[in-house]
């Protein structure tokens, strides 16, 4: 029952995306792929899809690198400092998106940086980094630090010890962190609404703009494709990292 409550709307949207008419009706009067063709022909949507990929790529890189580095570092801190770093990292997740969006808009506006890819990536990383950080930290806590000590004692340099001993052992954690960062960026909407512009807006923002005008059947198509993308990404993540860990770590 609850499961249906959670997922039925998405299924309904998927069905309507194949409708022959523009009106959202279930069951649809007939099936067609005309809205999919309309989407493929639309320059606006192509641009938005490209923007989403650029933003997600940038966010994945930034969040995974910063998150992993910090996760490696916190073990070397005393408890008090560790708590401070943890608090600072997690805090942005708990501040309302509108507030973050407004603060970035006003602040970056001072430097003329609003509406740039940089602004979008920075905003997305604000939420992706803490998640990447905690995923990597969780997988590092399962790693036996004596293995690294042993590598160092045997004469490996620190970077080499990381690449050859630490990284392979936490590979699934790194991978999961990158996937989560990617998905967070792909689906983020509120902050993007504030910091992106016509040239940098992502798919969710364009979907929002289209919805504000009128019911646009292309939004059903885009929604379906976004959901399919996320399902694929989550499926890959689940296979690599194990669904249960995936669910509990995030």
């Amino acid at each position: 029952m609850l499961f249906a409550f959670l997922l039925a709307p998405i299924a309904v949207v998927a069905v309507t995306s194949f409708s022959t008419t523009g009106a959202v009706a279930v069951p649809p009067p007939g099936l067609s792929t005309r809205w999919y063709e309309a989407l493929l022909a639309s320059a606006r949507w192509q641009r938005a899809a490209l923007n989403s990929l650029i933003a997600a790529g940038g966010t994945t890189l930034l969040a995974t690198v910063a998150g992993t580095a910090a996760a490696l570092a916190v073990n070397g801190l005393d408890d008090r400092r560790e708590a401070v770093v943890l608090g600072l990292t997690v805090l942005p997740l708990l501040v309302p998106g509108v507030v973050l969006g407004v603060s970035l808009l006003v602040f970056l506006g001072e430097f003329g940086l609003q509406q740039t890819y940089l602004a979008v990536v920075a905003a997305h990383s604000l939420w992706a980094t803490p998640l990447a950080f905690s995923v990597v930290r969780a997988s590092l806590s399962r790693f036996d630090p004596r293995l690294r000590e042993a590598a160092l004692d045997l004469g490996a340099s620190r970077p080499r010890a990381f690449v050859e001993v630490v990284a392979p052992n936490v590979r699934s954690g790194l991978f999961a962190a990158a996937l989560i960062a990617f998905v967070v960026s792909l689906q983020e909407f509120v902050m993007t609404l504030f910091v992106s512009g016509p040239d940098t807006r992502t798919v969710p923002v364009l979907a929002w703009n289209s919805l504000r005008g009128s019911v646009d059947p292309i939004v059903s198509v885009v929604s379906t494709l976004l959901v399919v993308t996320v399902v694929l990404v989550v499926a890959v993540g689940a296979v690599v990292a194990g669904l249960e860990r995936f669910a509990t770590d995030t």
């Binding site: 959670l6 309302p96 509108v98 507030v99």
Partner: protein, 303 residues
């Protein structure tokens, strides 16, 4: 692990290596700290500064001025005070509902067979990772007067006229539940995984009814997860923006909607910034109280 660490750092502190280890820690932390400083701390500080500038009739910012007009405007405006009250009531109501619904769901997933569990969890993760716009658009398609649910109910003769489930409080709460329930489910589920489910069987063997076993054995274990989930649900509902616009009506404006309104439509920066600052403070205070209570209770930390 801490024993090994202690031994390791003791050994290193004998030589020059201890300096290197500290440097390493600092270098590794640098990207994250720099990032949070530039993109979070400084912009938030700037927002506070903007909230303390003078209001102007021409809109936008009067740089370099100091004034509490923005905050005074908030107190004087009955609209804003009303919006704040409504937002808090909405956030509390949604949080309670989300915790109830999410905990039930998590419990079902935890008690279910391996297949049920996988399906239920996959559903939650999928819902969590679906963008807000899509989720709420989908909810609109289902719950609107011409929507699927009403079509089914009318066709089945269950209701005489379409139920109005959107553009009112009901729609707002329904929509926001779609946003926060997955987080509650996952946080409750992750505390439940630490509980051995043979305990429930033991309780049943000792004559407890399923409800009683759930209440007396599972509930105490799930409480920290429910609290973390509740805290997240509250923080996000208090800052709700998308659901109110898409599924609520003009009567259900939240603080976040009002911030946007002041900023983007009226270009009245100081009150907009002031309202954002107050909202953030309220959310953080509630979170701090929640987490403090959790720690005293001896629950889990982190998100």
């Amino acid at each position: 692990m801490s024993g090994v660490d202690a031994a390791g750092s003791e050994r290193r502190s004998l030589g020059l290596l201890s300096v290197d280890e500290t440097t390493r820690t600092r270098l590794l932390l640098a990207p994250l700290l720099l990032f949070d400083l530039l993109v979070f701390v400084v912009p938030m500080g700037y927002l506070v500064r903007v909230s303390l500038t003078e209001r102007s009739t021409g809109g936008a910012l009067v740089r370099g001025t100091w004034s509490v007009e923005g905050y005074r405007f908030l107190l004087d405006s009955s609209v804003v005070v009303g919006v704040f009250g409504f937002t808090m009531a909405f956030a509390v109501g949604t949080t309670l509902l989300a915790v109830a619904v999410g905990s039930l769901y998590a419990y079902a997933a935890w008690r279910g067979s391996r297949l049920t569990r996988t399906v239920l969890l996959a559903g939650v993760v999928m819902s969590m990772f679906t963008t807000l716009v899509v989720k709420l658009f989908a909810a609109l398609v289902v719950f609107s007067p011409e929507g699927v649910l009403n079509d089914v109910l009318l066709a089945g003769g269950l209701v005489g006229e379409p139920l109005s489930l959107v553009n009112n409080e009901v729609g707002l709460v329904l929509g926001q539940l779609y946003v926060v329930v997955p987080y509650v489910v996952l946080s409750v589920y992750s505390t439940l995984t630490a509980l051995d489910d043979s305990l429930v069987e033991a309780a049943a063997d000792l004559g407890a009814t399923p409800v009683r076993a759930a209440r007396e054995v599972v509930l105490p274990h799930a409480l920290p997860g429910m609290a973390v989930g509740g805290v997240i649900a509250f923080a996000w509902s208090a800052g709700a923006f998308t659901a109110p616009i898409l599924l609520g009506s003009l009567g259900e404006r939240t603080v976040a909607v009002e911030v946007n309104n002041l900023l983007q439509q009226q270009f009245d920066y100081p009150p907009a910034a002031a309202l954002a600052v107050v909202l953030t403070l309220v959310v953080l205070v509630v979170l701090a109280v929640g987490l403090y209570g959790l720690r005293r209770y001896g629950g889990a930390d982190g998100v």
